[in-house]
Symmetry: C3
Subunit: 406 residues, 3 copies
């Protein structure tokens, strides 16, 4: 990482090596896994004791489950005997996790309950499933791979999101649909793509029909670079904020810089003039999910980390997981949530619910894969970022600083 060809320069895309090298990818994971909280799913996926699902990232498999006291627990899905995967189903309900190899059985706290014919002195208590740090915030389940006493502070991690998420029903929502977009690109190209809307006009015609044009122009913009006609837009935003506040909704925004441990951001913004939710026609596609009794047409965007984002509309929410698989593969997983008592087929149509982001994420998959192909070429040079890619510049600065490459 020392020669000039591989040195990152502020305001530019990254050197090719950072997108292409297997060693860089392994080092990325060694850094990310213990330092970040990874959003894995929603508490509605596991309402009952013994409910579980698997979360898989870069060769790791994690069992997320609920113990008899009702607490959420997470464990490495690797038997303490000879290492076999213990749980092969992606989701379900169990009282014991029994290894399919030699039937070592672990309870919902990961404690080893049965292991036949072990030598004298074998300590069951020392052979429980290796725990993974797990926390729940507003119904969102996060895991972290540090030692238990070295996990990043979770209150600090979530602290600034609470006020902006207040009253919008995420904690009590339920999963309505999910979809996966395997993307042949380095995770940092997937993040780059999600962190700017400079590409929206070219690549996302449907998305652009739904969202206010001036808002999209302002997304990710460098301070002071707004076009002149942004004044009307700002007036509209201020007007909308006043209306939202009058309806009891929070307003505001924040975004981190390179010194942040997690590179977080959040905001509440209106979808578009005349729209009450992020749907093709701006009209509701599910019953009101918000507890505040009415639509304000706002969307709460929560970037918990570059790999974990949630968008909360008044009637539904979308969780985005960007999951590194290997150097040139990232699994983009999407989960759609609606109000807990909404009835599929009657109150909402899963296809309609998914339509906008399914269209947009398929487009993102294509453009990101073409980006990966291009950076692998001898014709690639780190390029100058536009005024509307300030978040990519900031993400790059954060990455090199936190990774110790600066």
């Amino acid at each position: 990482m020392k020669d000039s060809a591989s040195t990152w320069v502020y305001g530019h895309s990254m050197p090719a090596e950072l997108y292409l090298s297997d060693q860089v990818f392994r080092d990325d994971l060694d850094w990310l896994l213990p330092s970040q909280w990874f959003l894995t799913g929603h508490i509605s996926q596991m309402p009952n004791v013994g409910d579980f699902f698997l979360y898989e990232i870069a060769g790791e498999s994690v069992i997320v489950t609920r113990n008899k006291k009702g607490d959420v627990k997470a464990f490495h899905n690797a038997c303490r005997h000879r290492g076999s995967r213990i749980c092969l189903e992606h989701q379900g309900n169990k009282r014991l996790f029994t290894c399919p190899y030699h039937a070592w059985s672990y309870d919902l706290d990961g404690q080893l309950r049965a292991a036949a014919s072990m030598p004298e002195g074998f300590d069951k208590g020392a052979n429980g499933l290796l725990p993974i740090n797990v926390r729940v915030f507003e119904g969102l389940i996060f895991v972290n791979f540090a030692a238990a006493d070295e996990a990043p502070n979770f209150d600090a991690f979530t602290g600034r999101f609470g006020p902006l998420m207040r009253g919008q029903g995420l904690a009590t929502a339920k999963v309505a649909a999910r979809k996966t977009y395997p993307t042949e690109a380095n995770w940092k190209l997937v993040v780059d793509n999600f962190f700017e809307c400079y590409h929206c006009a070219t690549a996302h015609p449907t998305y652009c029909q739904v969202h206010d044009k001036m808002k999209l122009l302002a997304f990710g913009a460098v301070d002071g670079t707004d076009p002149d006609d942004m004044a009307d837009h700002r007036a509209w935003l201020a007007e909308w904020e006043a209306e939202a506040a009058a309806k009891g909704y929070p307003t505001g925004m924040f975004h981190d810089d390179a010194a942040s441990a997690h590179f977080q951001a959040a905001n509440r913004l209106p979808i578009a003039k005349g729209a009450v939710t992020e749907s093709l026609d701006g009209q509701p596609i599910a019953p009101l999910m918000s507890a505040l009794g009415t639509f304000d047409g706002g969307q709460t965007g929560c970037v918990f980390s570059p790999l974990s984002t949630v968008l909360i509309n008044n009637d539904h929410a979308v969780i985005f997981l960007f999951i590194p698989v290997d150097t040139q593969m990232t699994r983009v997983e999407t989960i759609w949530l609606v109000a807990p008592d909404a009835v599929e087929g009657k109150d909402y149509d899963p296809e309609a619910l998914m339509q906008l982001w399914d269209t947009t994420l398929k487009e993102d998959k294509t453009i990101t894969q073409n980006n990966q192909l291009g950076v692998a070429s001898r014709g690639y040079r780190p390029g100058v970022l536009s005024n509307r890619e300030a978040w990519i510049a900031a993400f790059g600065a954060w990455y090199v600083q936190q990774r110790g490459l600066a």
Copy 2:
């Protein structure tokens, strides 16, 4: 291999690196190929002059054939001209092996017979196919990749098996069926799995119906760890041994420790009470193959090396080849043998013949692949072996000692 994370500890499964590293795999092959005799097939596959079959292991392709004098010969399947594979068919009969590229032709002794337009002074005698060491024992064809004068002593390799195999008809048997199970796992995990029956109750219900329960509990058990009720079992075994001896069958067993060159083991054990062979109902599935005139219900297990095992029943035998392909791929090949004059469709049904081990090996493929996935996880720790996995402990000790890792 020096830091503690990769140090093998007796009584535990191996450090992850030994199952995952491409370099370890290459070093494994550099050690295995010249030091071991690899079982490749049975002499009945090549009764006539010019009969041949290919044996392939980790990128190597070997032609095994029979010359005009009737001797079995083996050669690298690589032309001495520019290296092309010479023989593309997996089996057949030839008088000359003629390279499909430039028609260099080799006889059944590997001697170069024809090579057109070669420069003056070209020495045909120095350009024969490179020979591979090959030996036959009880109809089993073994190859070894050392230089001819450095091949491991074959009499020492086979010496202890003869008495236990006596009279059971393996040398004169014929191939009745064969099947391959490509297994996405390191060869050492495949061996680990084959060297214990601790997993049988969980993973192999059919196998457990066929075999005596107490015998399976004793398989691979640490000395002195038998459950109390093993006394009855031992009495039964002693009784069976006396009956077998009275019928003229051999009895006995042996197994090697870490100092062994080949980590061999063998035994004669009864299938189960009331069973005369290893079939679903314990009844014959082929005509008597043994030359001793009667069934004794025993099975002779011969572990010639961790990668080469044969099980001989009174009416049929099964050859198991565990063939390393790459770090995370092992080809499990199985060959079923019956008496030479048994007629397919009349005296035996190949499907019935294969049923037990086909079921069992499909189960083994699944559990071994899940083991490979698990050891690749950061949640894997080498685990404590049970009292019924003594052979895995011994195999690990042998591996690290013979590989120079101890």
Copy 3:
């Protein structure tokens, strides 16, 4: 490359490492890309302003196009913004190359014409597409990846071919068909195979029916090694040369040695007695392409470099591109050309046009892949070349000298 096992010896095939090592492949490309002119296609693929096609080699993608002045231009297919592939179609016509990601638009000279919202001081002039050296000779389009002022001299590169190609209509021909043969083998094995006809009798029965037998025996032969009955053949060649010259056709030949920058060769030879072109029956398969008014039955073979060859018959030509993809993959691309006014379906049948070389190249794919499998074996030893593989010996000498391995 220092130990004896990996040292190339004149008159032998190469050490295995040169065909197998990923590092050797990367070093090969680092040497080839700037030092060689790569034939990419024919000018008839792009008659009009804005016509373009892509040329792809080992992860590189090159746009070859024609600007408003009518000049042929070539550029790296990587956006100067964040590196995305700009052009996804393999061929077509454009006035602007607009990146599908953020709509940065480049004109036919590679100049950046549009890039929205860029920071003050951003220099469009410094952010054009990175140019690739491109030259046209006799309708053939060559590219080179050196810096513009370090491109190998193109006049020297083409100088000796002009006289032999004179009057045969290649520059004005048109593409009639094309086909790709992905070959799982190192590019040097593909070249080896193309540089000798020692394998023809064994591997190419159809090709041997078409070409004069004695000519094929002489192809690639070491001086002084001809069989005695070559005298008649030489007399026939001399007779044919006189006839060809009388019809206004050029004659002659040359071939380079290890000191050459490009390892070039060319010759004019008759197809066979009684044949006027390289077709199954020796009869025309397209209208006369030559401007010399009559058939002379000759074929002009032009080896511009080991990776770029053209065969020109009186009625059609065939371009062969051997394109390294990765260590063990080479893309063989073939383009068939006919006279510009020949009408498909009336004057020529594309299937008939392709038949001979399609048959031959499918055979070449098979034998070359078997060669690759063989050289990967421990049984491979660099072998002695025959008297009819003098060009392979010379190619090896050239390779190790030019690569600095000698």
